[in-house]
Every structure is written in structure tokens, then in C-alpha cells.
Symmetry: C2
């Protein structure tokens, strides 16, 4: 089976388009993976790159990409709203299909070691690839940012996982890691009552006792004229979409509010949808053919999970087949 | 409104019945609260006492009870299976009705201060009454037990919240706190398949991403011939019974398994039941009269929550009315 990972490096330039093009140059038109997008944000002064494909094919181009950033960005002159500690700030590997988390952790470590050795950039391993206590969450590692990292990295507790305990003078330091894909998911409530959305968000989100990997809040959609529970799902395996959706329906029932639809923001891995579709086929005593085509999956997701404005292009794997 | 707290001191004698009677003597036949039970466990060599009623009325008798334990128990000679650090090991206050958690925290602090000053026993404040980092969970405080506490308490990090940083030579140290009642709740599944109970337990419990305050596991009931999801609910306000029950039904549906009933082990506060009954009356568009008598509450709980072998005697407040 073909191995597909998503790789989402963030680098610290979001204004100068010519510079941005030079930095992403090594990632363009490569064999084995696709440069799906690179989206600069001027206020953040930061660009989010999305790669999709074979992790082996990404190795060399990613090193050359980091090297370009090292040559072209001087963090001493960088400012922007988003917290950052390096010219390439963070580089996570995300298992999509045919590959497990453990393998992504190994890939991240090989990459971190390689960057530290060839480019003299100190690297912290984070998320699932974290090996030291207190380094799981990126904000903890990045606290103090580029400016504070000069002293922070010299302390025993903050020596990098790869490289010397001193920042690169112009690049700073970077974080390399592995994590599950983040699912941005919103559930529509057929009411204008924000209080109901608030109460339901509180029932499902981890911070108030609900599902551990769900961050949720209420939002009013001005143009559509109804409220939503808007959320990020940080672990769709432990907190599958169907369970969250059914719990929201169960809670909404006490307010006499219908749940007509829901929506995925951005892309979603096929596995995330299949896991939830399987719940509905199980419940109906039917068998789900997991080899169905993307169009059929999209249709079933619209039917059972109420995904609106959804088609196969929002499934990550459909994307790579078209672009790779 | 009458203020009712539950107070559940545990003391380190579970074998010598004559000694046990002497220690609980100050708690018998008092005005304003009931000594609901005291249950010695020989293997643990420990007795769990349950008081119910007005916290003001408990103050003096509790001090005399701790003093009795101080006079009659020498921890240097104590052994038992349950971890312990003092002659009275732990003393939690639990809000039941007409009183909130903040007030229980205040009561716990006044009690801890009083014990430390009058009896020269070092006191750690735990659970909701905890004021120092790392002292929320009892096992962390108690680690090392009586034998290790002699040195542990001298370290800056483990100075007690009240009293001097040295153990009482024969009593040891104790923990005083405030917490929500723990609800022991089991949901019956109409199957003998343990694997299904395992999967459902995993879906709902906090440790695997489910509801934060739920500890759950699978169990096979030999005599009844079916499996159960057995659980402790540590915070019934954030994780109400109805939500857990409905989620279990939703999960069970995919296995074609019915959820015919559930059961409460021990006692349950009226408020816990009312919160969940309100879900079902809301959903039916009806109004729940919260002033209904205990018998009616018990009947509604059997109907909507499927409580089996349940009657009003299992409601804490019904208990105090009969015994106080």
C-alpha cells in the first residue's frame, strides 16, 4: 500500500511574495509528493505549507527548503503576530494512509537529526515525537520565542533534542514532530439561541469535562441566521465524529432544537470519514465496503453525517491522486 | 434551606471492634447530624465512617473523634492493605444540599486549622480544598505513607498546610478536603460479550478520551448472565448520568445490543438524579416538579434512567430524614 503523510511546515515570512517563492522552490514539482498549498498570512508574517505524499520522497526537498529559509530569513529582523522561534518554526508529519504514527515519529526524528547535523540548527521534538517531559505541547517549547530562546536553550532543561544548546544566530531554533490530523468540524443547530450552542459546547469539550480531544465553542452565523458548535478534534480515533455528532443531537433534543447538518473546514482524511460511516452501517446491520470510491464516500458522509458543501475534493486522499 | 453535607472520615483501625466503638463514640446520637454507618474492613485494617447533616453540628464531635483516634491508635504498630499516613487518614466534606462547594472548602480549612492547633497533628488540604500545587490528589500527598512521611514532611515542598513540618509521633499526618460525591454507577448490556463492554467502556471513560470524570471498565455478571459497564463518576455536574447512559445506548446500538437497565451502588444525592430527570422532561417538553417526594423521584429514576433495585432509601437525603 502506498504510504501517504501530510507534512505542514510553517515558516516565518508572510509578506514578501518573491522571497516566499524562493523558499518553497525546492518543494515544487517533485516526484512522489505534491505541494498542495502554501498560504502566506501578512499579519502573522508567516506561511503555512502543505505537502502530501510519500515521506521518503519529501526528505531531500525538505532539507533544501529549510536551508533556503536559513539563507534568506534573518529572525533578528522578523516581526509578526504569531508566536515563533525559528525561520522554519515547526515541521509536523501527519499519518494519512498506509502508515502509522510510530513510523511518522521515526521519520520526524530522522529529519530532526538531519537538520541539526547538516544545517547547525537546534531541533526540539514535539507532539507524539516528544521524548522529554514538558515538550509535548508546542507553546511550552516556544515560550519566550526567538528573542528568549537565546538564553532559554542554554538551560539544562531546555537543551535541544538534536544539535548544540545554542540558537542559530539568524535562524533561531525549530520544532519537528508527528501528530494526528486536526479536524476542523462545525455542527449546525437550527436556532439563533447562542445560549444553547454554549451549553452544548460545554457538554462536549474536554476542558469542561467532555470528550478529551475536543476543543469547542459557540458561534452565530450572521448570514445563515443560525448558531453552530464549532470545534477542533485533535484525535479523531479516540473522539470519532459520529460520537460527537450523536452527542450533540442528544443534547439538542432537550432544547427542541434540530441538527440539520454539519461541515468540515479544510480537508479531512478518508479514514476519519470511514470510521464514522462504519458506525451507521453497523447500526443498520449493513456492511460498509471500505474500498468504495471517493465520490461515494462523500455522498455517504453527506447522508449520514450531514456534511454540507462537501465533495470528494475535501478528502485528503482524493486531493493527492489529482495533484501528485 | 437546611444545609446538608456528607462527611466520610477514614480511620486506621478495622479489626478491634471494641476500639472502633470507642473511636466513633463522639459521633453517636448527636444533634443535627446522623452517624449513617461505620464499616470496618479487616484486610484494610481501616474503617469508613459516614456522617450526614449540618456541618456546624459536626465540628465539635469531629474534633473529639480525631482526638480519640489520637489517643487510641499508634501508627507505628499499624499494618493493613490500604495506603495510609495517619490514625485518621482522610476527612472529606461533600456538599449534598443547601450548600455549595466553596462553603465546604471553607469548612474543611477551618477543620484542618483547628485539628492542627488543638491536637498538634499536621494537616494537608486536598481535592477542592487543595491550595498548593501537586496536592489535589490524595495518592500524591500520601505517597510514602506513615513510614515515609517522617522525612517527606520536612522537605519544603511537603510542609503541611496547617501545623508544623513534622509528623505526630503516633498519629502521623492527615488529609482534610472537600469534594463532590462519587457516584458508583453500572450500566447493564443485554449480551455476554465482554469485548463489547470493553469497547463501550473505552468510548466513555476519561483515560481513553471520553468523559473526563468517568472511570469505567467492563465486568461480567456471572449470576445475572450479562455484561456491564461499571463506573465511578467523580463529577456528576460536568458528567451527568443521563449523558453517560445515552452515550452508552448510542454505542451499544452499533452492536445491536439493548441497554435494559442500570444500577446505583450505595447512595446517591437527590440533586444527581434530578439533574438527569430534567433532561428527559425537557426532551418531552414537560416540566419537572423539583419538589416531588422521594418515592416519586425513585419511580421516575427507574422509568427514565432504568435504575433497577432502586428505592428512595438509596437517595442520600431520604436517609438523613429518617435517621437524623
Amino acid at each position: 500500500m502506498e504510504r501517504v503523510v501530510q507534512c505542514v511546515p510553517n515558516f516565518s515570512e508572510g509578506k514578501d511574495q518573491a522571497l516566499i517563492e524562493k523558499i518553497v522552490e525546492p518543494l515544487k514539482n517533485q516526484e512522489g509528493f505534491a505541494l498542495v498549498s502554501y498560504e502566506p498570512d501578512k499579519d502573522y508574517n508567516r506561511t503555512v505549507v502543505t505537502l502530501l505524499g510519500d515521506p521518503d520522497a519529501m526528505k531531500e526537498p525538505l532539507i533544501r527548503f529549510v536551508q533556503k529559509a536559513e539563507e534568506l530569513i534573518d529572525m533578528n529582523e522578523h516581526s509578526g503576530e504569531h508566536p515563533r522561534m525559528g525561520a522554519v518554526d515547526v515541521l509536523p508529519f501527519i499519518p494519512i494512509s498506509g502508515i502509522d504514527m510510530d513510523t511518522c515519529v521515526d521519520i520526524a526524528h530522522a529529519m530532526g537529526k538531519n537538520i541539526a547535523e547538516t544545517l547547525k540548527i537546534p531541533v526540539f521534538m514535539y507532539a507524539e515525537a516528544s521524548v522529554q517531559k514538558g515538550r509535548k505541547r508546542l507553546p511550552s517549547i516556544r515560550k519566550g520565542e526567538f528573542e528568549g530562546m537565546k538564553d532559554k536553550i542554554k538551560k539544562n532543561k531546555w537543551h535541544p533534542d538534536y544539535g548544540s544548546p545554542e540558537i542559530h544566530p539568524t535562524f533561531g531554533a525549530m520544532a519537528v514532530g508527528a501528530r494526528l490530523p486536526l479536524i476542523a468540524y462545525n455542527i449546525d443547530l437550527n436556532t439563533e439561541n447562542m445560549d444553547i450552542a454554549k451549553k452544548i459546547a460545554r457538554a462536549i469539550r474536554g476542558s469542561s469535562g467532555g470528550f478529551k480531544h475536543v476543543q469547542a465553542g459557540p458561534v452565530f452565523l450572521e448570514e445563515r441566521g443560525h448558531v453552530q458548535v464549532t470545534m477542533n478534534i485533535l484525535n479523531y480515533k479516540q473522539n470519532p465524529i459520529y460520537r460527537i455528532l450523536e452527542t450533540v443531537k442528544m443534547e439538542a433534543a432537550r432544547y427542541g432544537v434540530a441538527v440539520p447538518s454539519s461541515e468540515i473546514v479544510g480537508l479531512i482524511p478518508k479514514d476519519t470519514i470511514l470510521r464514522s460511516l462504519k458506525y451507521y452501517s453497523d447500526r443498520a446491520g449493513q456492511t460498509l465496503d471500505e474500498d468504495v470510491d471517493m465520490q461515494t464516500i462523500a455522498k455517504l458522509a453527506a447522508k449520514h453525517l450531514g456534511f454540507r458543501d462537501f465533495d470528494e475534493k475535501k478528502i485528503i486522499e482524493a486531493n493527492i491522486r489529482r495533484k501528485a
